[in-house]
Amino acid sequence: MRRAALLVFLGLLSWGLVGWAQPGKEYTVPADTTLGAVAQEVFGDSAYAPAIMRATNAKSLADPSFLKVNVLDMKIPAGAKLWIPERTWAEAFIAFWDPNRPEDLFGGGKLVVGSWWTAGGEAEGLNALFEIYGGYYPDVQIVNATIAGGAGFVFRAVIKPRLIAGDPPDTFQLHAGLEVEGYSPETYLTPLDKLFEIEGWTEVLPKDLLDLLLYKGHFWGVPVNIHRANVLWYDRAIFEEYGLTPPENWDEFFTICDKLKAKGVVPFVMGNAGGWEAAHLFETILVSTVGADGYKGLWTGETPWTSEGVTQALEILKKVLDYVNPDYAALSWDGAGEYLIAHKGAMMIMGDWTNGWFMAKGYEDYGWAPVPGTRGIFDALSDTFCLPKRAPNPINALGWLRVCGSKEGQIAFNRLKGSIPARTDLTPEEKALFNPYLQSCMEDFARDAIVPSVIHGAAAIESWVTDFKDAVNLFLATKNVAATQASLVEAAEAALAAMGQ
């Protein structure tokens, strides 16, 4: 029943969006003229003529009563119907249109969107974006080119050869932050600085995120959401039964673990079948031992990896391993979550996509807190979409990026995906559309110190992330603190040297 009501509501919402999502206005030419003259009249600049041509042609594909403009300097007869796009769209078009590509003046064609969003929640969120896009640009055929695999593990391996071969999709997903280095953006991607300026995104996106998005002085991707990595999830039933409260620091954490272990409950659950989950855990422990600034410094070379905080973090991880479920190597993070749902495991540390998964599972008995020792710190990651240099339909992709950065796009997407919008200009009514966890997450995001997640592509270049992950994976077997710290130091030196190139 509730589901049906939700569907009706979403249907109305998307219908409403389509209803007012007509970017521009109709314009009937009073006397014989040219596009340049029309552009001069409506925009005050004849340079906007190509934008009007593209918008009118796109419109005429759906509604033949509009004029089909064949060449830019065509004579426009009196009484012809044109479509004048909204100003920001026209500006973006002029900024990104390559005059050597007259085919972009005609509208239609495809929009191939590459992403790794195939699971419940995220796939629905992506569809919501498609629906909004379809409302704006009904002439474009959307192709959903997803490749499954957590955190884009497989997707990234497929997209890279395509970029090198010059056969990229029109736009694809990548994590905000230094992950973009792995795509050699100066060669393969288009900088989006002008789009950020035209759309005013530099005003509405938080400064920490903007810093993260800048690579070599340019913006390369449009962020759609924010996820938090440092969340401790716990089963409220177990915590109530044994009179426990969520731990604020690691001493409290281990006291709780000892109590629960004695009762035969698995104190802490994790999975590591994907190979990255333990490194995710270690990242959040690092944040707790070296603090927000110290952690950020680890990735810029300001905090040495030889420091005491890193040693402490490894000692804590080693101790945590005494309390984990014995089958963690065989489970993915969601498989580990089954322990909580069955009330057999008490706590787990995972990003806040867990919230969406719990909801999908119909599990409501969970609580959340920051990872011990990280209250006031928000370990963030963000998904963005970029514009490959050799995108076959760059103008269609441009429209997609505008939808991704728009308020309506972000609200529709994030409510389903279970993340918070990257924009900070939501009204209280708009915030109320989100579930309780996401609302508390938005508050924390506005208040906390933001640090970039490493395992999710924000803090470091990909080769460093791989070395970091490998060091932690080896540690799970050896539990050798000194050797692991040494290999972390070595990885940092190599990566910082490579970045200095």
Partner: protein, 301 residues
């Protein structure tokens, strides 16, 4: 007249062969050469960088702790997989060779696992060897052991770093021993009954018949099986992906998996190419002597 026709035939043959020769040259040997070239370059980001760095990537690789573990895993896997498949395959062949009833039925059953892809085998054995936990209960083999009162034999299987790759070898043996059986069975059928009779008349017992008559005669089959299983083993990748991934502390990691990760996740294209070259060299150590051997034999025939 006759000579000219021969020449014409030759030309046609050559023309017919040419497309595939060119395709193989470009897409096999050309790419092998290209990979070798990349393996000595400095290509460490998406944008290709063909600066020549000599053998630096190889030296780095052999000093890499993960690669050292991978090589050790590969050695253990290959040794277990080869001996396991050969022994089990041979025993099955000997048993089937005893003119059992419904031999075709058993033969099909033993041979069937080979028709599966390693991905399917991997998924099935991943479930069979699920470690389970006291809280969530056991499944697969551990559950079986529990039910028949052998609970003390329960193991973490592939999740236990001390077992690791050996568990994967079990799955591989399960899949390929039927194939070895089929090869040996064909070989056994080719050995004339008179030879065995003669040995028995000479006073050999059944064990001695196998030890001194059958096994030596089967040597070409054994060699063929080693070559086939050996190159599967050195290239093993899909079974690992489906069954375990690299595992805790890389206990189930192999060079091919490392190659994929380092190339497409760490963007170390040169290092990935170096691993590919090392794999190629290892496989050719196995294949080239075999090719020489078979070419020579063909010449003799």
């Amino acid at each position: 007249m006759r000579k000219r026709r021969l020449k014409g035939e030759r030309l046609v043959t050559l023309l017919l062969l040419l497309p595939s020769v060119i395709a193989v040259c470009v897409f096999v040997y050309g790419f092998i050469g290209w990979t070798g070239y990349v393996s000595m370059s400095n290509w460490n980001q998406l944008l290709p960088d063909y600066t020549f760095v000599g053998l630096r990537n190889f030296l780095k690789l052999f000093a890499h702790p993960r690669f050292q573990i991978d090589l050790r895993n590969l050695a253990v896997f290959t040794a277990l997989f080869l001996t396991g498949s050969l022994i089990i395959g041979f025993l099955l062949a000997v048993l089937l060779d005893r003119k059992v009833r419904a031999e075709g039925f058993f033969r099909t059953i033993y041979l069937y696992p080979m028709s599966l892809s390693f991905i399917v085998t991997g998924v099935v054995w991943r479930w069979l060897m699920n470690p389970g936990s006291p809280q969530m209960g056991s499944t697969g083999i551990n559950l079986l052991l529990e039910k028949i009162g052998l609970g003390f034999l329960k193991s973490g299987w592939y999740t236990d770093p001390r077992v690791g790759i050996k568990a994967v070898a079990v799955a591989a043996i399960w899949q390929m021993s039927g194939y070895v059986m089929a090869m040996y069975l064909a070989g056994l059928r080719g050995i004339p009954e008179e030879l065995r009779e003669a040995a028995r008349v000479d006073g050999a017992n059944e064990w001695q018949v196998y030890r001194y008559v059958i096994l030596p005669l089967l040597r070409p089959i054994t060699l063929g099986a080693i070559i086939i299983l050996g190159h599967i083993s050195l290239k093993i990748y899909d079974l690992i992906v489906a069954m375990t991934g690299p595992g805790i502390g890389f206990s189930t990691d192999v060079p091919a998996y490392f190659m994929w990760e380092t190339t497409f996740h760490a963007n170390r294209f040169a290092q990935g190419a170096a691993i590919a070259v090392i794999l190629l060299l290892m496989v050719s150590l196995l294949i080239v002597p075999y090719l020489i051997f078979s070419v020579r034999r063909e010449a003799e025939v």
